[in-house]
Every structure is written in C-alpha cells, then in structure tokens.
C-alpha cells in the first residue's frame, strides 16, 4: 500500500518510474522527453585539485547508462576515483583519451539525457560547479535492495560543499623567516604553492604569490567575456599552445640563450639558375625529378663543411658544466626547416656528404611529403647536425635564423629576386640574386670562420662547375 509518500506535491496515485533511493517523485506523463545532448562536467574532486588524469573509461559512445553507473576512473594526486553518472541516458562523445589530463569543471563526456533533469542536476551540465540542493524533495522511503544508501544524500538534501580540511601547518612547511613574511603580507600559507624540499614554502614562493595576487584583479580569463558595449574593451581569448607550439616554445627559449653571430650575403645565382633550367628540361636520367635550388645549396654547404668542420659540431655543456667542449661530427645530417599545417618541423637528411645532388633532391621530396602527412619518424627528426631554413619559399629577403640548440650553425635562404646590376662593361643587366643568411654560435665560432665558409658556399653556388671537380 503506497501510503508512505510524504511529498506534498504528489497525490497518492502518482508514482515514480523507478524505485531508486533518492529519486524525487516525478509526475506521470505520457510524452517521452526530448533528446537533449549535454556536456557532463567533471565535478570538484576536492583539495583544490584542478586537473586529474584519466585512468580508464568504463563506457563508450552509444553506451546506455543509468544513474550511478560508472563512467570512468581518474587519478587525482594519489587517489583513484570513480566518476559515476548522474543521469540515465546514452553516452555520445568522450572528451578525453586514457592518460589525458582532464580539467575539473570542464566537460568529461557528452550525454544524451533521457531522464528528466532536476534543477539540482542542471548544475552538473555545462554550467557552474556549485551543487545546490532542493529542500522540498524528501528521501524515498522504499529502499532498492542492492543500491547503497548514501548516494541519495547528494540529490536531495541541501549540500554544503565540504572540502577536506587542508590544514597545512605553517611551521612544518616554512622557516620562521617565511612565516614572518606571510604574516606581514597577510597571506595564508595554504594558498601558496611550495617549491622547496618536501613542498616547503620558500620566500620566493611567497613573493611570487603576492605579485600574482595583485594581477588576479586584472581582466578575467574566461574564454568568452560578454561585453555589451565593446567599442573600447579588449577581449582576450585563451588558447593553449599546440604540441608543436609548446615544443617550439621550449626549444626557442633554449636556443636564445646562445649568442648568435649573424652574417648575410647576396649571391648571384644566374649560373645556377640556367644550369637548373637546363637540367629540368633535359634530364640526364629517365626518372629524374624537377630540381629546385635547395639541393644544390645543401650540397654546396656540405662541401664547404669539409673545409670548416667546426660548423658541423655541437657544444657539450652537460658532461662537465665547468668545461664545455666541442663534439665534432663526421656525418653531415642537414636539417631542413619545413612549414606544415601543424607548425614548424625540422627533419634531416642523413649523410649528405655521401649523397649526390639528385639523391638529396629526392630525400627533400620524401621528407616533405611525410611532413605534410604528419608521418615523419623519430629517426627523421633526430640526429641533425646543421640546419637549412628555406623561408624564401614563402617570402622574405633577409632573415636572422635562430640556431637549433644542439647545433652551432644555421643557414637561411631568402627568396630569389631579379635586380638590375652592372656588368664589367658598365651596362645594366638583369641579375638573379638570392640572399643567404648565416647564424652561428658565437661562443665557439668566430666571425672569420663563418665568413670564409660562406665564401666557399658562395663560390659553389655562383660557379656550380666548381662542384664538378669534387665529384667522386
């Protein structure tokens, strides 16, 4: 006899569709609820934790779930926590792969919610994180035999979001000097991240925290700030760095600690241009591909490196930080900077010193197509000894290329241009020129060496016949 219902909203003949403990009693209705796909947010795990790592998923897209079913397991610090569904529905999309870091407050997965969404459940979907309870709906007295009781508390009673007491005692995590500083600045130690041993808070941590605190009152970092009158206000859109950008960020930060010596030269490529044209129209081999300037320049560089091997070396400061040394390398593995849709990538051609210009050209082709398809292997991307940056293929005449930190020299090639010039008789003639810009590590390479090497390269480029006498 269903006389145990205590809810004032519901008359005695109405009943809830499912005997879950804690489910509020819904009015009976005939029409099925509309399909509504909502992102299910990762709720607060406590202890101020902002991100967790996904350990494993228990569901996949199109899986049917019921309230309290396990969705996934995440690791927050040292606890493996199972996240359960608050709704009945169908999983539509998973926002993370196993081992990805998931953000608290961000969508974990999309769910096509088939049950009615109670007001208190709305907060778990695509809006704020606060859990507000609704005071009127009481606990359903009928208990389903297997279901545990305590989950019922969540949906029905007004909740106080109680964080675990995080009392990091000042004296166990900071020296008296730091404690004094905290008191002066009126900062609570639990707000400061300690970078000292055992997580201890150091003076620098407190100072950093104090300065960042004053910045926090600056414009908020929400992704879509709503500004009705936006004529003067700046809108900021936070986009995290892509993997290639973050790699570039790290690499460039390292590279710019090296003092760069810049040397630029303008080369007359008339002879090379006509040679190239001739080879491309009358290929000597049946399956020869079209040659660009790049393979010639790469080979010229490699030939010059035979005379100036220091430019193919690398600086070793790790083995003995007080005694840096040069590591000379016999193979010329020339890296070629490439611009792909994902960003800057530098695969290298191995052993250019043993390869012909035709082979170099085919290697360039091979690496370029692999790069565009994002199929470069680690073997292609490691082991480079010197780099050539062909930014001229996009544009620009003078560049100041940045060194790769495991190398001491880099050559940037500008765009080929046609300029007027004077010949020996004083007549104005058309000349095709190209700028070569060199950067070298000035800690180990002096300007004269770069200049001499550049001259050798210029010689081979302006008079390609010079390369013939070096043929093996």
């Amino acid at each position: 006899m269903r006389s145990l219902f205590r809810s004032p909203q519901v008359a005695w003949h109405q009943f809830s569709r499912r005997p879950y403990p804690g489910r509020s009693i819904r009015p009976f209705h005939i029409s099925s609820p509309l399909a509504v796909i909502k992102p299910f947010l990762l709720s607060d795990i406590g202890e101020g934790i902002k991100e967790v790592q996904i350990i494993q998923w228990f569901v996949e897209p199109e899986a049917r779930v019921e309230q309290f079913d396990k969705l996934c397991e995440v690791q927050s610090d040292k606890a493996a926590v199972e996240i359960t569904s608050r709704f009945d529905g169908v999983i539509k999309k998973l926002h993370y792969e196993p081992e990805d870091m998931a953000q608290v407050g961000q969508p974990l997965c999309d769910i096509d919610v088939l049950s009615e969404i109670e007001p208190e459940d709305e907060t778990a979907l695509g809006s704020t994180n606060k859990q507000a309870g609704s005071p009127e709906t009481p606990q359903q007295p009928q208990k389903a035999a297997e279901r545990p009781q305590s989950q019922s508390g969540e949906a029905n009673k007004p909740l106080e979001v109680s964080k675990a007491p995080n009392t990091r005692d000042a004296s166990s995590s900071a020296t008296p000097a730091v404690r004094g500083l905290l008191k002066d600045l009126k900062i609570d130690i639990s707000e400061v991240t300690g970078t000292g041993k055992d997580g201890r808070v150091l003076k620098e941590d407190v100072q950093k925290h104090a300065s960042s605190r004053s910045l926090e009152s600056a414009p908020s970092s929400s992704p879509i700030p709503s500004q009705p009158n936006s004529d003067t206000a700046q809108t900021e859109n936070i986009i995290p760095l892509t993997p290639i950008q973050s790699q570039m960020f790290k690499t460039m930060t390292r590279s710019l600690m090296i003092p760069h010596f810049l040397y630029t030269d303008e080369l007359n490529v008339n002879a090379l241009s006509s040679l190239r044209h001739h080879l491309n129209t009358h290929p000597s081999l049946p399956d020869q591909q079209k040659l660009s300037y790049l393979p010639f320049i790469i080979k010229a560089l490699s030939l010059a490196l035979d005379n100036y091997p220091i430019l193919n070396a690398r600086v070793d400061t790790e083995t003995d930080a007080s005694r840096p040394r040069l590591v000379m390398r016999s193979a010329h593995n020339v890296g070629i900077a490439m611009d792909t849709p994902q960003g800057l990538i530098v695969p290298n051609i191995k052993n250019v010193n043993t390869l012909s210009i035709a082979t170099i050209a085919s290697e360039v082709q091979r690496l370029q197509s692999l790069a565009l398809a994002s199929k470069l292997t680690p073997a292609d991307l490691t082991g480079g000894t010197i780099t050539v940056s062909n930014i001229g293929s996009i544009g620009g005449t003078y560049v100041a290329p940045i060194l790769v930190s495991s190398e001491v020299a880099i050559l940037g090639i500008g765009k080929k241009r046609v300029v007027p010039a004077f010949d020996e008789a004083g007549n104005v003639v058309k000349r095709e020129v190209m700028n070569l810009s060199w950067s070298a590590d000035h800690r180990v390479v002096d300007g004269a060496t770069v200049a001499r090497c550049a001259e050798v390269v210029r010689g081979f480029v302006e008079r390609p016949e010079g390369m013939i006498v070096r043929l093996r």
Partner: protein, 439 residues
C-alpha cells in the same frame, strides 16, 4: 558454516566497525581481500585491515611497469646467474614479484619489515580523506616520537635534534614533532607512503609503514629501471623520497605484530569502539567474532573459497593485468628530447623505435644502416616480425629477430643479435651477458 561463509556474512552486515589482520604474506591474496572489503563492506561501516607481504614491488594502477621497475633484478633468470654472482650482493631467495594494485599513487617496495594498513570508510563528496594517517602516526609515536604526517599525507620522521621546549608543539598535533625537520644534511625521511581509491559511497586509504626493513639500501636499485630514459609515457610517475625505518638507535625494538597492535588500539580509540567480549588479533590467530558494534578476526588463504576473492586474486597476478592495461608508450633508443647512454656493444648506426599499446607492439621502426633507403627496407623487415607481438608472450627478442629477419652480412647478423639483446634487456628483463660484447 565455513570460515569464508561467516566472513562474507560479517563483512556485508551493518556492523559499524571491523578490524581484520591477515596472516598470509601473499601480496596478491592480501590485495584481493582488501578489494573484496572495499566492494562488499556495508556503506556506512569503517574497516581496518592490516597485512604484511613477502618482498614485492607494488605499482600504482596508472603506472608503467617497464618504467618503474628494474625487471632484470626482479627476475631470476637462469642465463644471468653468472652476472648476479659477480656482484657482492645478497641474492634474493625468491623472485621479487611485481604487482599492480587498484589504487592510484606511486611505486612502493614491500617486505616482511613493512606493515601495510588499509582503512575503508564512507565517502563524503568523492573526497578521499587521509585522516587515518594521523591515526597511524599516533600508533607509531608510541615507539618513535619523531613521526608526523606531511602535506602529501605521507608519514615522515624528523631527523633533526630535539627542539627547545618552548618550541614543542601540542602532543596531539600529528603534523608537527618536537624535533627539527632537518639537521643540515638530512631531510625528513619517509616511513609511509599512501594511496587512495574512491568508488560510489566508499573510500579507501591505504599505506605502507617501514618498521624494520633489511632491504632499505637495495630498494632504489629495484625501483630504478634501465629502460626509463628510453621510454616516453604519459603514465603517472612516482615521486622518489629518501626512506627510513621506524626503528633506529634511540628506539626500542618492536615487531610488526606489536605495531599492528598499536594501530588497532589507535583505531579503537579514534572511533571509541566498544570491544567488550572480543579478543582482538594479537600475536596468535584469533577466530572471527563480533559483538553489536565491532567484528574482528585473523584472515588467511581459506578466504579463497569466496569466488570474488579468488577471481580477483587470479586477475591481479595475471601478466595481462600488469602489462596489458590500455596504455600507450614508446621505447626509443634515440629519444628526441635527450641523449641517454647506450651500452658500448649497441651497434652505433642502429636506431630502434617501438610504439607499444596495451602490451602489444603496434608499430616499430628499427634499422641498422646509416643509409636512408637501406634503413627503410630494414625497417620493413623488422616490422613484419614485430608488429602485433604481445610482449608477455615473447620468450626472447634475440631469437625472434634472428629467425625472422634475413640479412646478408655477418656484421648485420651480429647487429641484429645485439638489437635483440637490448630489447630483451629493456622489455623482458634479461640481464645482458658481458661476454656477449665480444660476439
């Protein structure tokens, strides 16, 4: 009714407090009993479970076993007995097992001088609280007053000199001791690491407690994997900490069962449990018994009669559970971000790169030659043999590659042998024979 039957009745009953001690030193059984207690105990109950394991290494649920453990040291491989005896170290009598547990956190070493405690309690808001670490500190302080809980919920010992009386904290404060936390050279020493798990209405917090381990000096060797510099993985790494035993010169010598007794006492005090007419587990075995408020007893392998414990035990010992979780990582002889040192017998022009997912080699790029086009065709040959191989089913990479990859020269034959030997060392834990360098 059998012991197993009575145990499962007690566990699922609404009795509020439970105290169990295992007499088995089998890590797989103990973890399975713990998991059973976690899943089956009444949602409103609080359970204390204590156990001691034979030497083993336990990695967290989200970790990579190749990255965390030196497999060559943990296996007793007949071929490598020579290399073991060359060094002046105590050779372990039994193999040291490697087990993946079900809670998060890092890698720990267990042995008979280490007491494990596990508390299962009702969860509030999915937050695993670590307040039982404070309870264990109260127990330890009976023997060693230097213990305290640190900010990571681990238990550490302050090694420094006794502070001035005016600086002494309140004796109930479990986060501070009367000793300085360093003495210039030593940092606080970790004696207990912990980890947690949350599922539905239940939370679990368990931890180790180094009482008197004879293996302290060797631990770091077991937990330092030679493959680590060559692996790129997103798995959660461990946080290494200097460790110590609770027993030191200025403390009396308790045994593991004494410490267990002290932890039980602290638990009873904390929850004010009425233990009238109950005899708590002490030096000798105690039968399963209970009153209205508390159930207690010693447990052993007879519980394997319970199907869930038996199947959980089988699962946790299986190589699939340890090595074939849904994780992806790469093993590379020349990783892009660093230059780890390769052994001097490694062929200098060889390049190895494997992508491993769920314990399976999903793709490989192995070459011996410097020349790009020869290397490319070599890679195809190697990949044909290696692709989709399950590592746990492999006996020896050396043999697999030797038989599967055809090459012409004797030099290439030798290089293949060495490539295989390196992979055997990295992934199968075969200690490499020094004499092989001359082969």
């Amino acid at each position: 009714m059998s012991i197993a039957g009575r145990f499962s009745r007690l566990v699922t009953s609404p009795i509020k407090h439970h105290v169990y001690v295992s007499r088995s030193s089998d890590v797989a059984l103990n973890l399975s009993i713990e998991h059973y207690l976690f899943q089956r105990s009444h949602p409103a109950s609080t359970v204390l479970f204590l156990y001691v394991n034979k030497p083993c290494i336990v990695i967290g649920t989200n970790q990579n076993p190749w990255f965390e453990v030196n497999h060559a040291l943990t296996r007793r491989n007949a071929a490598s007995l020579d290399s073991f005896s060359q060094r002046d170290e105590p050779v372990p009598k039994d193999e040291i097992r490697v087990i993946r547990r079900r809670s998060g956190g890092g890698t720990v070493f267990h042995d008979l001088g280490n007491v494990n405690f596990s508390v299962i309690f009702p969860l509030v808001d999915k937050i695993v609280n670590y307040k039982h670490a404070e309870m264990v500190v109260r127990a330890i302080r009976k023997t060693n007053p230097r213990a305290r809980v640190n900010h990571r919920h681990d238990i550490v010992l302050d090694p420094g000199p006794l502070l001035d009386e005016s600086d002494w904290p309140d004796s109930h404060d479990t986060r501070r001791t009367a000793y300085a936390f360093d003495n210039g050279e030593l940092e606080p020493r970790k004696i207990s690491g912990s980890a947690g798990k949350a599922s539905g209405p239940r939370g679990l917090h368990h931890g180790t407690c180094l009482l008197a381990s004879p293996n302290l000096a060797s631990i770091s060797k077991y937990l330092c994997s030679p493959a680590a510099p060559f692996l790129v993985t997103k798995a959660a790494p461990s946080t290494p900490s200097p460790v110590a035993n609770i027993i030191s010169q200025d403390t009396p010598k308790p045994t593991t069962s004494m410490l267990q007794q002290q932890i039980i006492d602290a638990f009873i005090q904390m929850y004010n449990i009425d233990t009238t007419k109950l005899s708590l587990p002490h030096e000798s075995d105690t039968a399963l018994q209970n009153n209205k408020h508390c159930a207690t007893g010693t447990l052993d392998h007879t519980l394997l009669e319970i199907p869930e414990i038996r199947s959980g035990c089988t699962e946790i010992q299986s190589p699939e559970w340890l090595y074939e979780q849904k994780r992806e990582f790469t093993l590379s002889s020349h990783p892009s971000n660093a230059h780890p040192t390769l052994p001097d017998w490694f062929p200098p022009s060889a390049r190895i790169h494997l992508v491993i997912k769920s314990g399976l080699i999903t793709s490989s790029s192995i070459s011996l030659s410097r020349h790009p086009s020869i290397a490319a065709s070599e890679a195809v040959k190697f990949n044909a043999v290696l692709q989709n191989t399950r590592i746990i089913k492999l006996d020896s990479f050396r043999r697999l590659l030797d038989e599967g990859v055809s090459v012409d020269g004797a030099k290439q034959r030798r290089d293949i042998y060495r490539v295989g030997a390196w992979l055997d060392w990295m992934l199968l834990g075969h200690e490499v024979d020094v004499r092989m360098a001359n082969k």
